[in-house]
């Protein structure tokens, strides 16, 4: 593991200078070897190598800050010192004369709790090196056995080359690197217990898992990081086989009964907030049940859950369109003149409501004030998320997939002992991706289930395959994990032996229910009159340029017209036949006329609103486009 150096540069440069003085290291005004501190020339010395060694020595004695790193560039004969922030540094065990400073006696002391990490650093048993010092002054041994007198450092553990997330993956050394990268990014999306105070937190979105389990196959860093107390996943019994094509292309089959027993179940919290805002002129928003007849009233049905103060009560079941907090805002413009020419003050409805697709139960309501001193209300809803078709799951080997079918336990394949898998993974997911660690973890999980012995999946130092197989053999289990399965539909034995094992699976926060979206008709954009974009705005799916090209390629003229006009932004525009300008309908006189040439020779033309807009924009360029009309065909 490594750390990135922080704290301000200037402060440290000062302290380094005083440290160097105290440690009796003289920096001369001239000499053969220039010395640079954080890239700035601070002086010279005559022998860079010895000065570097003295600094390292004094640093280990604690006379110089442990954050100072040295690099003597022998080719250029220049000495570089670094103490600035942003350098990634790693800890190593110091080796002197081929012997590790971390002696059994020290280890004994650590076990007793007499020595802490900072103490070890002060005692000069371990030290942090940055990239420069590592390059120029370190000869690192991977293990204690290979130590020779030339070695200067010893790696604490081989896993320490990995980062926080990667070191938690079991058997990562058996996997291909892209899959490790994927596994790392997916581990961050796994549902579990993200914070212990989640019940009082008001995160805008949060998932909490019902029954998180710690993995059967763990790694040492996993324990150190305390992940076993805040696990994010469950141990699944997995069979690797196809299942009527419902798990092709990375889909997985999940056992319905397992889901009913709580497998992969989670809660989804969503918080909404609204503020009683102040406007210039002393006007203010008001939380209340909006009175009938107000502009933008949503109908009484929508406000049914609100209490007198206009705020919803906890435990109310809410659906899309339901109002959580009723609010009334002052009019946008102080004077709005109505049809009869009377100045009328009209308030607007501006409630907080559930967006399309949202559904849940009100969990809690927070009544507080915002930073600007306004009344602020936060409403948190929750909804139960039971695994369903389309929910995403992943193992810790970059093997992700969505549920393709939920199968009743009776219909799932089973072993002669009556074990029914929780999940069926398609065998095609394995060979091309070379995630051998996945297979090994399945074997290891089975071995732990059978024996209860700890199976360590730590990268480079985990339980060896042979040991796992020995355990399986001991318990009369197929040492390769291949099991005879019986077809759940027919009860007949499946001819091939099928690989079954226990492996840790994570439920990822990509849930279909939060993504599902459809539209037949819906809102359009104000500017273009074309359908809106995106799920949040209940938008359509874009029929883009390339899709259009395809239809042209087919010669499907009428279909294109339907897509791009009829289903999109069709308008009727009045065009003046005489001058080609957009004409106007005068409601008072009920007459069409051209505002330019006052002609009454007007035709209605069907066109896309985008074209009308284009013409308007061309006009704004200072160009006068005229539309010349002609009879069709």
């Amino acid at each position: 593991m490594s750390e990135v150096n922080k704290a301000t540069v200037l402060k440290k440069e000062e302290s380094v200078n005083s440290d160097l003085k105290q440690a009796d290291i003289k920096i001369k005004k001239s000499g053969k070897v220039p010395i640079y501190l954080n890239g700035r020339l601070i002086g010279y010395c005559d022998d860079g190598e010895t000065v570097a060694n003295i600094i390292i020595e004094k640093r280990r004695l604690g006379l110089i800050s442990h954050e100072l790193n040295v690099a003597f560039h022998r080719e250029e004969n220049e000495l570089y010192l670094y103490c600035d922030q942003g350098r990634a540094r790693r800890p190593y065990i110091i080796v002197e004369n081929g012997k590790s400073k971390l002696t059994p006696a020290v280890i004994e002391q650590i076990k007793k709790g007499e020595l802490s990490w900072t103490k070890l650093l002060k005692l000069g048993i371990i030290e942090y090196l940055d990239a420069e010092e590592e390059d120029h002054h370190a000869y690192v041994a991977q293990s204690e056995e290979e130590l020779t007198p030339e070695h200067t450092h010893l790696e604490i553990a081989p896993v320490s080359i990995l980062g926080v997330v990667a070191s938690m993956l079991p058997y990562a050394e058996y996997n291909s690197s892209p899959r490790i990268t994927m596994a790392c990014s997916m581990a961050k999306q796994a549902l579990g217990t993200y914070a212990l105070n989640h019940l009082i937190r008001m995160d805008s979105r949060a998932h909490v898992m019902f029954y998180p389990q710690e993995p059967l196959v763990k790694t040492i860093p996993y324990e150190i990081l305390g992940m076993s107390e805040r696990a994010a996943g469950q141990n699944f019994i997995v069979a690797v086989t196809s299942f009527y094509g419902y798990n092709m292309s990375d889909a997985v089959i999940v056992n319905k009964s397992a889901i009913d027993r709580g497998l992969g179940r989670s809660l989804f919290f969503k918080a909404y907030e609204i503020e009683e805002r102040r406007y210039p002129g002393g006007q203010k928003d008001r939380f209340c049940i909006p009175p009938v007849g107000i502009t933008g009233h949503r109908g009484e049905e929508a406000y049914r859950h609100l209490e007198e103060d206009g705020i919803i009560y906890p435990s109310a079941d809410v659906n899309a369109g339901d109002v959580l907090v009723g609010k009334v805002s002052p009019p946008r413009f102080l004077e709005e003149i109505n049809v009869f020419g009377v100045v009328e003050e009209k308030e607007r409805e501006s409630s907080l409501y559930m967006k399309t697709g949202d559904k849940g139960t009100v969990d809690s309501v927070l009544y507080t004030t915002s930073v600007s001193g306004n009344v602020l209300v936060k409403v948190r809803t929750y909804s139960l998320k039971i695994p369903e078709i389309g929910d995403k799951f992943a193992s810790r080997h970059g093997q992700k997939g969505v549920i393709g079918m939920v199968v009743r336990q009776e219909d799932m394949p089973f072993t002669k002992e009556g074990i029914v898998p929780d999940l069926i993974l398609n065998p095609h997911a394995i060979p091309s991706r070379m995630t051998v660690g996945h297979i090994l973890e399945m074997l290891g999980g089975t071995a732990k289930c059978l024996s209860g012995k700890e199976i360590d999946g730590t990268t480079f130092s985990g339980t060896k395959e042979e040991e796992i197989r020995a355990i399986l053999r001991e318990y009369n289990f197929d040492e390769f994990g291949e099991t005879e399965l019986y077809d759940g539909y027919t009860g007949k034995k499946i001819k091939a032996k099928i690989f079954v094992g226990v492996i840790y699976y994570q439920k990822l926060h990509h849930l279909v229910s939060n993504k599902m979206h459809m539209r037949s008709r819906g809102p359009v954009q104000l500017l273009t009159h074309q359908p809106t974009e995106g799920r949040a705005r209940e938008g359509g799916l874009r029929f883009g340029e390339m899709e259009r090209d395809c239809l042209i390629g087919y010669g499907a003229s009428m279909l294109i017209r339907e897509r791009m006009l009829e289903e999109s932004d069709k308008t009727q525009q009045l065009i003046c036949v005489d001058c080609g300008y957009f004409a106007i309908h005068d409601y008072a006189r009920n007459i069409d006329y051209c505002p330019l040439c006052k002609s009454n020779n007007i035709e209605t033309v069907e066109m896309s609103y985008a074209f009308k807009l284009l013409v308007d924009e061309i006009k704004s360029l200072g160009i006068f486009p005229k539309i010349v009309l002609r009879d069709k065909a």
Partner: protein, 354 residues
């Protein structure tokens, strides 16, 4: 009887082959061709920028395709294939000699040119070994210098040139002029054919030897008496166009694109390529595909504005008072009418009598 059968056979062929192969009216051939060429193009991007390890002689793959479609005046690396008439050679060695004759040799290749700005003198130091291998004698160089009216002295391996002020029809030579003269001297051709940088002998599929060159000069090589004119080839479309004319340029485009596609094992129907080549050459000059060529010359204002440089086209057309008759596909989609392709080509003409 025989005649009747003959006619039947011809009819059958016509029915089976010809009418099956002819395209229906209103078919959007352009889009289909563009898609058919574009799709393999996207695949090429990924793998063929470089051939690992092998020194790139002539660009292939996507870079070459872009070059062709953009109608570049000179290809990045032009190349020629020259077959020599049988009567002029017996074996590979003879051909190599001929190849060397083709290679353009410049003064800088056989001599080191250094300048003295103060004295306004140039010094040529001859590279004897090079001269020998290239078959160039001292007289060769001297005659060229004489031709250019230089005043010089020969001292063994060295030739000293004194520059006279009158040389550039100026009163006095500046240092810049001296450098200019040096450069022009370096670039003086001693022998060979202009633009032919390198020529080497290669064997073709039928074990016949031919000369491949870097650089191309169709005009001079075509006139060369030893060259087999019927099999002379260059990859420079522009040279073919200026020497043979537009039809030949069209065929060259087709051939070159086809070659690029074949190299990648991509099969594109040749008719798509032919359509592209036709479109590029239909005006009698080789046009590029894109802003400066095909798309920039579309008839409709709206279609041009929809492609690139929208405002430029709109403003320009307003200056000339252009009108868009809405005949193209793009225009009609913008306006929101049925476009004149496929099912949109047919219109119902109905005369109403009242």
């Amino acid at each position: 009887m025989v005649k009747k059968i003959k006619i039947e056979i011809v009819d059958e062929i016509e029915k089976l082959m010809y009418s099956n192969l002819s395209i229906n009216p209103g078919e959007a051939v352009g889009i289909v061709a563009a898609q058919s060429l574009g799709e393999p193009g996207t695949q090429m991007t990924m793998r063929t920028f470089h051939y690992a390890g092998v020194a790139e002689q002539v660009p292939t793959g996507l870079p070459r395709l872009i070059e062709l479609v953009d109608a570049k005046k000179t290809p990045k690396k032009s190349m020629m294939e020259i077959y020599i008439k049988k009567e002029f050679y017996n074996d590979e060695k003879d051909l190599e000699k001929i190849a060397q004759e083709f290679e353009a040799t410049y003064l800088a290749d056989v001599a080191k040119v250094s300048e003295n700005f103060e004295k306004k003198m140039l010094k040529l130091k001859l590279k004897r070994d090079k001269m020998e291998s290239l078959g160039i004698s001292d007289m060769h160089i001297i005659s060229i210098l004489k031709k250019n009216k230089f005043k010089f002295k020969v001292k063994g391996n060295k030739i000293l040139i004194t520059l006279k002020d009158k040389l550039l029809k100026k009163k006095k030579l500046t240092y810049g002029d001296v450098r200019k003269i040096t450069l022009s001297l370096k670039g003086m051709m001693l022998k060979g054919i202009k633009n032919i940088e390198k020529a080497f002998v290669v064997k073709d599929k039928n074990d016949e030897f031919f000369i491949r060159t870097n650089g191309s000069n169709l005009k001079e090589l075509f006139m060369h008496p030893k060259v087999d004119k019927s099999r002379l080839y260059t990859n420079s479309i522009n040279e073919i166009y200026s020497f043979f004319g537009i039809e030949a340029a069209r065929n060259a485009i087709v051939r070159e694109i086809k070659q690029v596609m074949d190299m990648q094992n991509l099969t594109v129907d040749i008719r798509h390529i032919m359509l592209l080549a036709d479109a590029m050459t239909s005006d009698g000059v080789v046009k590029s595909v894109g802003r400066h060529g095909l798309s920039g010359e579309k008839a409709g204002v709206l279609a041009r504005a929809a492609f690139e440089e929208t405002v430029k086209h709109l403003v320009e057309s307003s200056v000339y008072g252009e009108s868009d008759r809405l005949v193209g596909v793009t225009e009609n989609i913008i306006v929101g009418q049925t476009m004149p392709v496929g099912t949109g080509t047919v219109l119902l003409k109905h005369k109403t009598r009242l």
